[in-house]
């Protein structure tokens, strides 16, 4: 059978497409890099659990993201249950579409200066649905913070650089949505929310203490 020039053109285009698919498959089948502990847990990160634990879970999160809030009880339960075997770090990744995500991150850092980062973290998530600047400003009364010191750090955006560093690190590590979790250096792809507990429990089992 003799092919028309049109048929030949189609075949050529199809071959080029298959070639593109082949290159794509090659590029995408490379294993995801495993990040160093020091990259994911830089000095100054707020952590819970045992800092020496072999298993480390790092979350890039946004205080105004509903999915982040829905994961919070699960993360809290995991840390409580595995206090000695797990270290958990919260890192900031405020998304542009959430206007209060950055102020909330600044507020959490301002409270962190007074050793109350995690109390503020929980307070923000508890109030996420009605989150406002007033709620952030009223934190000192609720959490027993030195009001003046807190407000100064918050309003002066004292920890903006730290938040920016978290965000740029996140981008560098391939974070494109929140929450994104890294478990022992590997980015987790969570299909259902229970996958997080499963992955963490399994890693702890393989890395006791």
């Amino acid at each position: 059978m003799k092919l028309s020039s049109e048929s030949k053109l189609f075949i050529a285009i199809a071959v080029i497409t298959v070639f593109i698919i082949g290159i794509g498959i090659m590029l995408m089948s490379r294993p995801a890099p495993v990040l160093e502990r020091s990259q994911l847990l830089p000095a100054g990160s707020y952590t819970q659990g045992n800092k020496e634990a072999k298993t480390y879970l790092v979350e890039f999160s946004d205080f105004q993201c509903p999915a982040c809030r829905s994961f919070q009880p699960q993360v809290k339960a995991l840390v409580e249950k595995n206090k000695d075997k797990l270290v958990f770090a919260y890192r900031h990744f405020p998304l542009a579409q959430h206007p209060l995500a950055l102020p909330a991150a600044l507020a959490a850092e301002a409270a962190g200066e007074q050793e109350k980062f995690w109390e503020m973290h929980d307070y923000i998530f508890e109030n996420q649905e009605s989150l406002s600047e007033e709620i952030l400003l009223s934190a000192p009364e609720k959490l027993g913070l030195d009001k003046e010191k807190y407000l100064k750090a918050f309003k002066d955006k004292k920890y903006q650089d730290k938040i920016d560093k978290d965000t740029s690190d996140g981008r560098k590590f391939g974070v494109d949505a929140t929450p994104t979790f890294f478990l022992n250096g590997k980015k987790l792809d969570l299909f259902t929310s229970s996958d997080l507990s499963k992955s963490v429990e399994e890693t702890i089992k393989n890395n006791p203490k």
């Binding site: 092919l3 048929s7 189609f10 794509g24 579409q97 494109d176 929140t178 792809d189 299909f191």
Partner: protein, 140 residues
Amino acid sequence: MKSSYNRLIFILSLIGILVAIYVLQSFIRQSSIVCVNNGCEIVRKSLYSYPLGIPVPAFGLIGYSLLTLFTFLRTISSDRRLLYGILGISVFGVLFVSWFTFMELFIIKAVCTWCAVSAINMFIIFFLVVKIHQMEVRKK
């Protein structure tokens, strides 16, 4: 004119295949999809993205593959049934992408960029097929 429309459908179908393969591998490997926002992830993790247990991009891959095959066959044969085949697939495609876009907007409440690209692609293909059909009918 008619053959350039057929050529265009062929190229758009190949683009559809590329998009479908990319999104499908993310569904299968459960890895995140590069997207302009986090809509793709929300959509990927939604149960509605698995009608009959089949991931949505698999439907796209099959549809676009058939369109590619049929448009190629039209360069070899002038059998009218090929055009009706293309028309049938594109009608199903348009209904399918409309249904899924509706689900994204009102049920899942997130839009996946790649799905939107594929939906627009399918509408253009449908429009081109209708044009070819009109030309052939007129000729007849």
